[in-house]
Structure formats: C-alpha cells, structure tokens
Amino acid sequence: MKMNLVQAINLALKQEMEKYPSVILLGEDIGKDGGVFRVTEGLWQQFGDDRVIDTPLAEVGIIGTSIGLAIAGMKPIAEVQFDGFSMSMLDQLYNHAGRMRKRSQGKWHVPLVFRVPHGGGIRALEHHSESLEAFFTHMPGIKVVTPSGPYNAKGLLISSIRDPDPVVFLEPKRVYRAIKEEVPEEEYTIPLNKAEVVQEGSDITVIAWGAMQKVVREAVAQSKYSVEIVDLLTLYPVDRKTLIDSVKKTGRCVVVQEAPRTCGYGAELVATINEKALLNLEAPVQRVTGYDVPVPLPKLENYYIPDATRINKAIENVMSF
C-alpha cells in the first residue's frame, strides 16, 4: 500500500502493539487526540487507556517512568512532541537509560524507544525545529536511528521496538507527509547498523540522513556528476563500512547535516573518513550544515536549512578542488 511516513509509523506501532502486549505508548496528547502530528491516531481507540497513555506535561517524568517500565518488562515507546523539548530528558537518557545495563552489571536493561519528531522545515514555532542527533550519538549505551522515508521508517521502527537497548528514533517531521511509498502490510525489519546506498555513482559520495536525504536526492537529480548517495538510517552504531567503501570508491565526499555546524554529527563522519580513507581523498570532505545559531523562526528558516543550491555548490567545490 502507498503510504506516507506518518501512516507507516502508525502501522508499525499498531502491529507491534497487536503482537506484543508489553508495548505501550506514553506521551502528551497521543491518546484521544492522536498526537500533535497524528502519528498515534486511532491507537488509543484500539488499545485503550492502559496502553496509549496521555501523561502529564513532564518530559523527565515520561522518560524516567519509561525507564522503570522497561526494566520491569514493559516495552515503552515514549514520545516527545518536538525536538527542543527533549533537552530536559537528556539527563535521564544519558545518566540512566544508557547506563542501567552497566550499572546493574547486565541484570537490567532498558528497551525503551524514544520517538522524537526531528528537524525543521514546517514553519513551526520556536524550539520546534531543532536537530539534536549529535547529543544522542555522544551518549554511550544509546542507539540512534533516523528513517528518511515511509518504507524504511516502518522497518526501522519495528527493529527499534524489538531492540534490547534504548533507541532514540528521530522522525524527520518535514517528511511526515511529503513522501508516499509502497509500504508492505506485513512486518519486516531493517537492521540497526546498516546504511543504504540509495544511488550509485562514481564521482562523489554524498552522505545524509533523515530529512536531508530528500533534499539531497532532489538536489543531485540533475547533477552533471555521477553522485553516490548514502542514507545512514542508523547513526549509532553507524555502518562505517558502507560509507568508507563509498568514499574510497569515489574519492570525494560531501556530508549534509541540518544541525548547527560545530560538533554536529557530520564532524564525526569527517573524522571517520579522515581516519579510514585519507589516502583516497582527492579533496577535503565538505560539510553542508546549519549554522551555529538558533534555528531561525519561519521567515528565515529556509535560509538556515541546507538546500539544493548549497549542496550542489559544495559538490562543485569538491569536484573542482
């Protein structure tokens, strides 16, 4: 069936909830209201108040109780409404979710999923458009996953739900309704350590994840170069083999990241390429990123988010280096 990303995630949630009674959802307005992005639409009606739980407005409480629920055998899927509001949860994620296995010497683990609508581009209010993946990928014990379209969203979410470790699941919110794809009704999983080469090419590798995939694909559709596009899908653990193989093949690379530049996830990719493929590089890897500023309000937002022009310019720079 053709569906968009919201529908694909909704379907994955529904099917996993039908299959596993331990799966429960926690968040603000996810029940009767179906979530601010309508991702949980219909689930409260189907599964009731004990499994689709509208919580008080308290992000630490949501993630903190989810940790306890997960330890005690439930499979909580916690939602935060917008990226900016996940900052207050970082303490519980970092100091507890990511460390409980360690702290209990393997006795307890925290198989929660933390769903975050991610990134900008929907003309939203302040604090609604952040891209915080670099905070999560710097946390030991946490996995970080980000789909780019409906098909991989469903498979990755099912894998995340079944994963024994805490998974941060970043949903590219500007893509929620922007792409329709064929998504199988039956269940399938996508491993949480595999990137995908979504377009083969020989001149240059462009690496992106989440919402930036769509921008990259559109940007290079008319490119005069043979561009290889890598979609990371999982940011930690990341599939270094795929991306290094690609860079070794092409010898050139652009990394596209929506978050502010400094200390973003892209820096880690460049460092990795430097370590593993320096001798193959024909030019410095170039980063196309957001700027070191708060994401501007809608009137200027589009100047902040990497777009086709900037991506193609970077490709041109790298090619003509």
Binding site: D33, V36, D54, T55, P56, L57, D292, L297, K299, L300
Partner: protein
C-alpha cells in the same frame, strides 16, 4: 485540602463580595473593559489572519481575558513580566505594540523586540521553563534593593514540569518577590486538568513550598485584579511570593494547529460560555450605568481600528534580512560564525 474560590463578580455581573471589591474609578473599570475588548479584537483577527495564511500558528486567549487583563493592570511599570505563549492580552495591556505581536506570530522574530522601557521577557514556548527565570528576575530585584516584582504566567499543564517545582521551591526558600499566575484553563492541549495532577486544586501546591496559594475565579476581572494587587503589595513589602490559580477556560482551540472537537465535549464549552469574562463585566457596568449600546459600539470600533492599523503596519514590514540569523547570537560574532556568515553570503 478544601480551598475556597475567591470571587467578587459573579456570572450574572453582580458583586457578591463588596468587602473585597477594589476601589476603582469608573474610568478604571472602563479601561479594564476596553483592554479586554481590544484583546478579544486582536485575537479574533489573529485567528482570521492565520486561516488566510497571513500568519502562522497562534494561541488564542479567548475566555482568559479577565485573568490576563486583571493581573496585568495590577502590575507596576517597573515590574517584570515573564509570559508563556498565550499572554497576548497581557502584552497588549502593558503596551507592547500589537503589530509586533502579529509580526512575531507570523514567524518574524523581529516582532519580539521588547520596547525600551518594558521589563518583559520574550514569549516562552517551552512549557514552564520561564518560571525559574522569573524567580531569578525577582531575586535580583530583592538583592538590588529594588521594589519591582516579577509576574510569571503559565498554564495548568506547566505545573507538572520540574522547572515549576524547582522555581517555586527557590521562591519559597529565599522569600522571593515573585507572583506565579497559573491560568488553569482546564486543558493542556487535549489533556484535561485531572490528568495533570491528582491534587484537588493547583493553588494548594503553593503550601508545599511554604507560601500562600490563592484560588481565584479567573473569569472575574475584579477578583483577579484584587488578588494580584495584594500579592504584589505583599511581595514589595518583603513578605515573599504568592501563587495564584486563575480558574478559567480556553474557549478556542489550543492553537490554530489544534481541533478541540477531537477531545472535548461541546456541552463543557457551552457551559463556560455562560461564564464569559467580558460579558460578565459588561453586565456589571450596565447595572452601574457606565455601559450602553453606544459605548459598546464605540469601544469595539476603536478596538477594530487599532487592530486594523496593527495589521496594516505588520503587513507593510519588509521581510527580514537573511543574515539577521547571525545577529544577536553572541555579543560579538565569533570567528566561526563570521566565516559561516561569509559562506552564506
């Protein structure tokens, strides 16, 4: 704990508590009414602009005018105002330009340019996080020996956040001249008040921080004015903070991105219509002989003209410069940002 709801003006527009009725001149009462009408006119047009795609997401204050205007009028010029995202009525009453408000809600950050002589924080979208800021502002005032107090606004939902707890607790421990105004409008988007807290009232939460909590009819502008003024006097006198629960109702959608019909009963909304704060004051003024149809027409006309001027001004504004995004991040542009800005240009 059973808490009494403080009320002066009942739903029929009758004074039920003459002892506490603040001494207000007719002009002052009219001003109250006119600010409430102006806020409502502003709100109305905001919703229209949004529907027409001329503005973005907007949070209506419909039904909460008494809570906002009543409390705002009790503030002194030098007091601090720390809003959440629903306090357009307070902004307007304190003299913040309406065109700038529209501009802000249209996604242009220059709208949040706070006037020279106004001690206001910018709109705070993250729920509850502004509460400790307000406590800090009021604390500074105390440490500096100033008389200004801080007034912070937030909703029922915000009381569930840790930031509320930590801020309230500091205020109690250090006897900080801060006034906490919780507009309990019964809903946090789709989550009803009972889902936020199992406590009977929100007001009683103040006692567990060692200071006074007051439950007030939030649709009664006199009552809100009175308790806020008392709280401010008390704070100025060095007697510490007060928490005020304004019991009110959000008549509109949470924001323009919301549809309340998905989660609440129209009968509830109907019931609250009868408690309308503007109508209530109108009835009182009529009974006092300071309201008539003519006056009403005049008030609304004036309000609409002001709002129309604001819309015109806001829509005439030049779009912001793209490089504005690099401004006001640091006092001076660091080298990294300079390079990024140059790249951008």
């Amino acid at each position: 704990m059973k808490m009494e709801m403080f009320q002066i003006l009942n739903e029929e527009g009758k004074i039920v508590n003459t002892r506490d009725m603040p001494k207000l001149t007719n002009d002052e009462i009219k001003a109250m009414y006119e600010y409430m009408v102006l806020s409502r006119a502003f709100d109305d047009v905001a919703l229209k602009l949004q529907r027409e795609g001329r503005m973005l997401t907007y949070a209506s204050l419909l039904g909460q005018e008494a809570s906002q205007i009543g409390s705002a009028l009790a503030m002194h010029k030098e007091d601090w105002f720390a809003p959440s995202f629903r306090e357009n009525g307070v902004f307007i009453t304190l003299g913040f330009p309406m065109d700038a408000l529209y501009q802000y809600w249209a996604g242009d950050e220059r709208g949040m340019t706070i006037p020279e002589d106004m001690n206001a924080l910018p709109v705070a979208v993250p729920v509850g996080t502004q509460i400790p800021h307000a406590v800090g502002l009021a604390w500074a005032s105390k440490l500096q020996g100033k008389k200004s107090v801080a007034v912070v606004y937030f909703g029922d939902g915000a009381t569930s956040k840790g930031d509320f707890h930590e801020g309230m607790n500091f205020a109690g421990v250090f006897k900080i001249p801060c006034i906490f105004i919780c507009q309990n409008n019964q809903w946090a988007i789709s989550v009803p008040r009972k889902r936020q807290s199992a406590s009977d009232t929100l007001a009683e939460k103040a006692f567990s921080y060692g200071f006074e909590g007051v439950l007030v009819d939030g649709n009664d502008v006199f009552a809100v004015y009175k308790v806020t003024k008392d709280a401010a006097d008390k704070a100025r006198a060095g007697k510490g903070p007060t928490f005020i629960e304004c019991y009110t109702y959000r008549m509109e959608n949470h924001t323009t991105a919301d549809d309340w019909k998905k989660y609440r009963d129209p009968a509830e909304v109907e019931m609250w219509k009868r408690k309308d704060p503007v109508e209530r004051l109108r009835k009182y003024m009529e009974s006092e002989g300071i309201w008539n149809e003519n006056y009403e027409k005049g008030v609304w006309e004036k309000a609409k003209v002001k709002v129309a001027e604001a819309v015109k001004k806001f829509e005439a504004v030049e779009p912001p410069k793209p490089t504005d995004m690099f401004e006001d991040v640091y006092a001076e542009l660091p080298e990294e940002l300079e390079e990024q800005k140059k790249d951008f240009e």
